[in-house]
Each structure stands twice: as structure tokens, then as C-alpha cells.
Symmetry: C2
Subunit: 491 residues, 2 copies
């Protein structure tokens, strides 16, 4: 067992922090709530970003860049938006420092006060729709399909690396459409792109659904989401896609001349995923030895370690030849050969397990004789002796198998931790003693939703898409209900 | 001549703004000094970013992410740095807004004042070196080779799109080394990477040199730079690479145990290029018809326009077949086929010239008969009828030829606008009547440098690397000089 990682069963939260830090993913910075994403963590984020970005482009979106700062008055233009977003955010009030006349250092120059304060964007609907006003005149300017990769800031009081930080990285798509139907289709399209990415790249199974009014994005008509279940039975919202109706178009007066020659307000969507997904990735697959990464997102997919000692150093060149042969057979796989002779192979094994490298290959003297190598897969920690004949295909297949296994394992875990409950006692019992997703009847009122949250800290994660109709009674109020909804305690 | 672009000879500055806006590169935002980078402009920036990023990774660097905000006190830790940087920057003083009790909208909550103000990073040496303190203990932790792609903010009073904006995008490399020699080598290595990128991708010839003490980065021991000459004879600094000595290591107490077991301060470099390069790209190649892009950075490398009219619409499918054939021959070239029938081919020709698409192919009915197409190159605006046999190779070769021609043309322009002068009268005369780069003797003092700047607005752009020694007398002071240095008026 790893010496640096607190076991999950001892303290899941501490285990998470240990993984993030010891695997070189991220750390806290001197600025409260802001993290430093370290090179290894950032390399994983780059792979996630590139995969998503390719899908955005394949579905017709273009990237652009909008200002970091938003005039304070913009936030108040959309009534719901300001209630939900304007409050906890970083406010720029001055634009100059000066030398402290009374001593060392610098002070804020009181003469450099901004006429209107600027807010570091917590999200960009307002600044973007104020821009769209000039970009949209006719139906021919629509649809406008734009995405931005950006840093945003929300002044969170309790922060956790990746899961909830004051500054975080994300992408925010902001589209404008001529009809409500087209905007809703876009909202669902991007929700599906998110789900496909999470399941096929992150190997994280997700449930697609729509949020209740209570949990809706501030300014949205409907908020769709993808929800995943972590190893500890708590839910994590992995991404959201909002149908914004004409709310922002009206707030920023974005009208267009329709094909029929009528002036109309544009229909909007916005959708986002963030570095929070990194937390979801960790809490879906990793174990007490460290990170476990799906091959498609691993910065190093295969690591090769030579097994030699001081007396057999002269055989290193023979091992290097085998390494070249393996590499040549898998040109599209990221391979690291670690022949650093200042570290033991035992140290290296632990290091690459900690970093979640999907496949480790060890090559020793006996392997040279036998034309073999030892292959260890990170997900199951199984070791196998494998012939070098056909090794390329073996590795390619194994990477696929690991990718699939991680998904299947996570899905099985979610299935095991998903419970249908019909009574309030059962609801509380499952939450406290089993945890996980709970499908239960709900009477459809915000009042009941809040009372349940108050009593148990469980929230309605979503009303799943294509939810089957089913008559029943609300677990809390006993009132009539037409469907079960998805409850969980959440991050 | 384009109807939307002011001719260069009429007003170069207005021409520049017209190009930036009309070609869909960028525009001003509602936030003073902050720009919106529009999709077409951002697509060019992405190509620049990806090409640079690949070179950074190929030379052993890794990306990471450091906080947007920097505690005010950090800026004062390196004495020169605070003088150069701490002053004109956005200051965050509060972290919450609240509803205005006296009316509509929101106000800054006076109870949410930060204990220590935070600065939006104007550059990240301080926050990064405060982090490196925990990352560097031993020579084995070195070299530390990290880059960050980020947005930064400097409160500029007079802004111009791309060239000087309050918020801009850039990359900043920050490396730590065990020896001064290694850090200096890194500084030069990255300078060369910049120069290679600018010449081979941007087709912008640059002069590599070192800045005088006056023009040095605040906190650097030596600042190296790459300087380019714009069409109007003014210089543009395209990128800088700094040898920082042990200044930041000392300011943030970053020590390591050397191979010899001695405690030493780490040696540092930092190097950066920004969206400013976009301005340099425009002002090197573009003309009165619009943008001219080097093929390697063009989001669309080839556009194909069908030449039909209402009576020949039925032939569109025949043209589409030819387009497919052409596309199949150039799988690595980005081709757009524009068969939008609501716009005339004349409109399209102007549009793609404005956007700087390197090659335009027109296909009409006669072409279908003759197995030809008409190829127009954007750089020279020459048109040629070309057989479809071997069209793929023709296009590939032509893209290469355009890339080379743009570089050669810019180099010829720079050569024509580079003058050796030996007297003050000549110096002033060339500046006022010819402009461009001037090689002149300088006595090596900051006093003379400032006096020349005061008198003419010309600055020493750099002391070129491998500058030949040459005895002479300073054009301004008449004192002895050992070499000519490079003067120009600059952006």
C-alpha cells in the first residue's frame, strides 16, 4: 500500500487530497481559494480540453475570446442572473498602485478609482450578449455558435482542489438561434456531446437529466445536466447545458430580422464543463495506490522500466533495443522509457502507480533470454508475462480493455449504489447507511424539495431524460407523483 | 480596391484598424482597453499557439497553470520588478456585491473588503517563484521547465487592438536552473525558437538582439528580444526572453542543494510572446484589399468558389464532383467550398481576399469542359488557369511558394528600409523621411539613449546578436563607440 496516500476507507476526503497532491495534479496557492495546476495535472486537463474542443469544432462551433472583466451594471440587467451570480465575486475598484509614502512597498492609489467597478467574470453571458447585439441583425447571422475556453472566478468560501475553487478553468459555449426549437436542440446536442466525452474518454458513466426550478442556472429557462456517482456514494454534477430562452436577448436587446421580415429576439443557450471534471475523474477510478487514469486521457500511456542492477548494467543497451522495437510497433501510443539509474525499479513502480499510468512494462535479463516482458495493468494491478512477438497488438488491445474495464467497473459501482425507495424511512436509511443515487417519488414542489434538503442534505440531482412515467406518492409529503426523480447527496 | 478598408497610403493606422475589424479579427469591448477576439482572429491565434506549444514541448517544457491574482505584497519583493510592473494594474479590493438598499442594481459590499488587495497578474514571476520555493529543494529538481498560456492585464492608457490592450493573451515560460550558464543557454534557446516560429510560420523576418539597460525587463539581468519591421517603417517587438539571474530566487528564497552539497539560489529565465504578434502579422503582409495570411497560419488555406448563374444551377453537382476530386488530392490542406447561392461570386471573391485566404480556386462551366480551374493567389493577386491533372501537387507547391514569397517580400522590404547612418543630421533625416531600421554608433550610455529618444522618439531596439565590432563615434554625442546598434521608432 502506498505510504503517501491515506486509505479511502479511513478518510475519503483526505484520500482525495493526497491523490491530488502526491500524483502531482494540483496544490493550493498563496491566494485563498485559487489553485496551482501542476504539470502532470495540466497535461490531463489538456487532453480533456483537446478532445472536447475537437467535438465542439466538429459540431460547427468556433472559439473566441471575451473580456475577463465585466462592468458591474451588466450583472443587473438580467433579473434572475444577478440574484444567482452577482454576489460572491472579485471586484476590481482601482487601476493603479503607488509607492507607499510612509514606508516600503506599494499601496492602492486612491486617485485611481474606477468610475464603475468591474467584476472578474463568474460566467460570461452578460458580456457576450452585450457583444452579440452588434453581431446579430438578420436571421442570416444565425445560428451563432461560439465557445470560449477561459478562467472564471467565484468567491467560494469553502474550497477543494478541482471540485470547488475560486478561480477555475472551463469552457463556456454561448449560442444564438432564430427559433426556440433550434436552441433547445442545441442544448440537448451539447448535453449529449458532454455525455459521450465523459463516458468514452473519462470512462465515467453519467445520467442525463433536467434540473428542477430550484437548481436551475440563474437566467435559464431549463438547465440540463450530466450527473455522475463518485466512489463514496456522493453525486457530482459534471456539466450543464442551459436553454436560456430569450432572457439574455431581451436584457441586452439582441433582435434580428427573421426570414419573414419580422423583428424578433434571439434564442440562447449556454453550456459549460470545467476543471471540476478532474475531481470526478479521480473520484471515479483511483485507489489506495494512487491515481488510475483511463488510457485515452493518460499523459503517459505506457511506461517501460528496465530491471537491472549494478552488475548487469552492461545489458542496458540490449534492453534499450527491445524498447525501441516495442515503441516502433505502437507509434500512436505515448510511451515513456525510464532508465534513470539513480532510482530503483521499486521506486519507479510505486511512482507510476501513483501517477496512474495504465500499463507498466518491466524488462529484465530473463526477459532478454526468453523474448518476453512483464506487463502490469494499473486498473486491476494484474501482472502477466508476455511474448515480444505481437507485443504491439497486445498493448493496443490492452489499452482498449483497460478503457472499457474502467467504464464497466464504474457503471457496476453506480448500479450497486442506485436504489429505488418508496418510503421516507427507507429514503433516510439508504442515504445514511448505503448512500448513492436514490430514485424516489416527489410531489413536484420546491417546498418539498427544500424540506428534504434541509432534513437530509440530499438534493434532486435531476429529472432523468426519458424518465418513465410511474404513478406513486411523494416519499416526503405523501402527495401524488407521476415519476421518480434522482436524489443524492452531492459535492 | 476594397470599399471597407482605408488605403494604407492614406492613413496606415486607420488601415490597420479597418483590417482588424473588417476581416473579423477583433473589436473593442464595452470594457475599456479590453478586446473581443472574434472567431476568425481567434482561429489564427490558435494556429500560432499550437505551433509554439509544440515547439515548447519538443524542447522539454510542460504547461501548468498559476493563479490569476497576485497578493499585492508579492510585487514589492523584487525591487526592480515593482518599479517596472506594480503600478498600472487592476486591483481587486472586495469579494462581494449586494443589492443596493436605495434602489435598483448592485453595489460593492463594504463589509467584504479584502485584508490584502489582490492584483490581476501583469506577469507571473512573483506568484510562480513563490510556488517554486516548494518545488525546488535539490539539483535533481532542476531544470524546472514550465510554460503557462494565460491572460494578463496591464492598465494601458492608450490601447490598440492586439498591439496594446489592457487584457491580452500570452504564454510565459518560467524556468529554474542549477547554473547561470544553463539559464543563459535556455534564454537563448527560447529566443531562437521564437525567431524560428516567426520566420517559418508567420513569414516575418526578425532581428535577434539584446536590450539596453533602459529597455530591460524589470527584474532581469539581460533581456533578449526579436524585433520586426512593419510596412510603415516602425519596429515591433515580437517577443522577449529574459535571463533573470538569481533575482527572483533571492526575492522568494528559492534555494537548492547542489550536486556538491552546497546550498545555492536557483537561476531563472522567463520568456513571452503574446497576441501582439497578431498585430505584427497583419502589419507585415496585408494590403489594401485586406488581410494577407501565410498559408501555415491561415484557418482556410484554399477556398473554392463555383461560378454559376441562375440558368446554370443544374451544373452545380458537376462542380461539386470536381471539388471532391481536388479535396481528395490535398487531405492535409484546409479547404472551404463556398456554394452559398445567396451570395454572388464577386461578393465571395472580395470576402476571401479581405480574410486573406492564400489560394482561391474558381470553377466555371468552361472549366468543366476544359478540365481546368482558375487559381488566384492572394499574395500577388495573380490568376492562372490550371489543369486539374496534378492539381493536388500544384496547390501544395503553391502554398509553399506563397509562404516563401511572403517571407522574402518582407525581408526585401526590411532590407530596403534599413540604413546605416553616421551623422546626426542623417539620423534625423532618415527617421523623418525614410523611416525603418537605422544602424548607428552609440556611446553606450543611458543618458545618450534617452536624449535621442527625447529628440526623435527613436529607441534602441536592440544590440543585435553577433554584432560586428566596428570603431566609430556616437551619432549623438560624438564619443567613442565600438559597435553600431539598431534604432527605430517603434509600436
Amino acid at each position: 500500500m502506498s505510504k503517501v496516500i491515506t486509505p479511502q476507507e479511513e478518510d475519503y476526503s483526505k484520500w482525495y487530497n493526497d491523490i491530488v497532491q502526491e500524483a502531482g495534479m494540483a496544490e493550493n496557492s498563496p491566494v485563498r481559494g485559487c489553485m496551482v495546476i501542476k504539470p502532470y495535472g495540466f497535461a490531463i486537463w489538456e487532453k480533456m480540453r483537446d478532445a472536447l474542443d475537437a467535438r465542439f469544432k466538429a459540431t460547427g462551433h468556433q472559439n473566441a475570446s471575451f473580456p475577463l472583466l465585466i462592468p458591474k451594471s451588466f450583472l443587473s440587467k438580467e433579473a434572475d442572473h444577478v440574484e444567482g451570480f452577482a454576489k460572491e465575486c472579485a471586484v476590481v475598484t482601482h487601476y493603479r498602485l503607488k509607492n507607499d509614502p510612509n514606508g516600503k512597498g506599494v499601496i492602492v492609489d486612491p486617485d485611481a478609482r474606477l468610475e464603475e467597478e468591474l467584476i472578474i467574470r463568474p460566467t460570461s453571458e452578460t458580456i457576450i450578449w452585450s457583444t452579440y447585439k452588434n453581431w446579430i441583425q438578420s436571421y442570416r447571422d444565425l445560428p451563432l455558435l461560439i465557445n470560449q475556453w477561459a478562467n472564471v472566478m467565484r468567491w467560494e468560501m469553502r474550497t477543494r482542489l478541482f471540485l470547488r475553487t475560486a478561480e477555475f478553468h472551463w469552457q463556456e459555449g454561448h449560442t444564438a438561434h432564430a427559433t426556440d426549437r433550434e436552441a433547445i436542440d442545441e442544448t440537448i446536442l451539447m448535453l449529449n456531446e458532454y455525455a459521450n466525452f465523459m463516458e468514452n474518454y473519462m470512462a465515467v458513466p453519467v445520467i442525463k437529466g433536467v434540473k428542477t426550478a430550484n437548481e436551475r442556472f440563474a437566467g435559464a429557462v431549463d438547465t440540463y445536466c450530466v450527473e455522475a456517482l463518485m466512489q463514496d456514494g456522493k453525486a457530482l454534477q459534471m456539466g450543464t447545458s442551459h436553454f436560456l430562452g430569450q432572457n439574455f436577448a431581451k436584457a441586452f436587446d439582441v433582435k434580428f430580422l427573421s426570414r419573414e421580415g419580422k423583428e424578433e429576439y434571439a434564442w440562447a443557450t449556454s453550456w459549460g464543463t470545467s476543471t471540476r471534471m478532474m475531481g470526478g475523474l479521480i473520484m471515479t477510478h483511483s485507489d489506495n495506490e494512487g491515481l488510475v487514469l483511463p488510457p485515452r486521457l493518460a499523459p503517459i500511456q505506457v511506461v517501460i522500466v528496465p530491471i537491472i542492477n549494478k552488475n548487469t548494467k552492461d545489458r542496458l543497451s540490449d534492453i534499450a533495443k527491445v524498447v525501441d522495437k516495442i515503441k516502433a510497433e505502437i507509434p500512436n501510443v505515448t510511451v515513456k522509457y525510464d532508465d534513470d539509474d539513480t532510482r530503483t525499479s521499486g521506486f519507479k513502480f510505486a511512482e507510476y502507480e501513483l501517477k496512474g499510468v495504465p500499463i507498466r512494462i518491466a524488462i529484465g535479463l530473463r526477459d532478454l533470454e526468453n523474448n518476453t516482458c512483464e506487463i502490469s495493468r494499473r486498473d486491476t494491478r494484474e501482472k502477466t508475462n508476455v511474448s515480444l512477438d505481437g507485443i504491439g497488438q497486445y498493448i493496443t488491445d490492452l489499452l482498449e480493455a483497460i478503457q472499457t474495464n474502467l467504464y464497466q467497473r464504474a457503471l457496476a459501482h453506480r448500479t450497486a449504489l442506485t436504489t429505488k425507495v418508496d418510503t421516507w424511512d427507507e429514503f433516510v436509511d439508504v442515504l445514511n447507511n448505503k448512500s448513492g443515487f436514490i430514485y424516489a417519488h416527489w410531489d413536484g414542489t420546491s417546498q418539498t424539495e427544500e424540506a428534504i434538503k434541509e432534513a437530509t442534505k440530499a438534493t434532486i440531482r435531476c429529472i432523468p431524460l426519458n424518465n418513465p412515467a410511474e404513478k406513486g406518492v411523494c416519499v416526503f409529503s405523501g402527495k401524488e407523483s407521476n415519476q421518480r426523480v434522482l436524489f443524492a447527496r452531492a459535492y
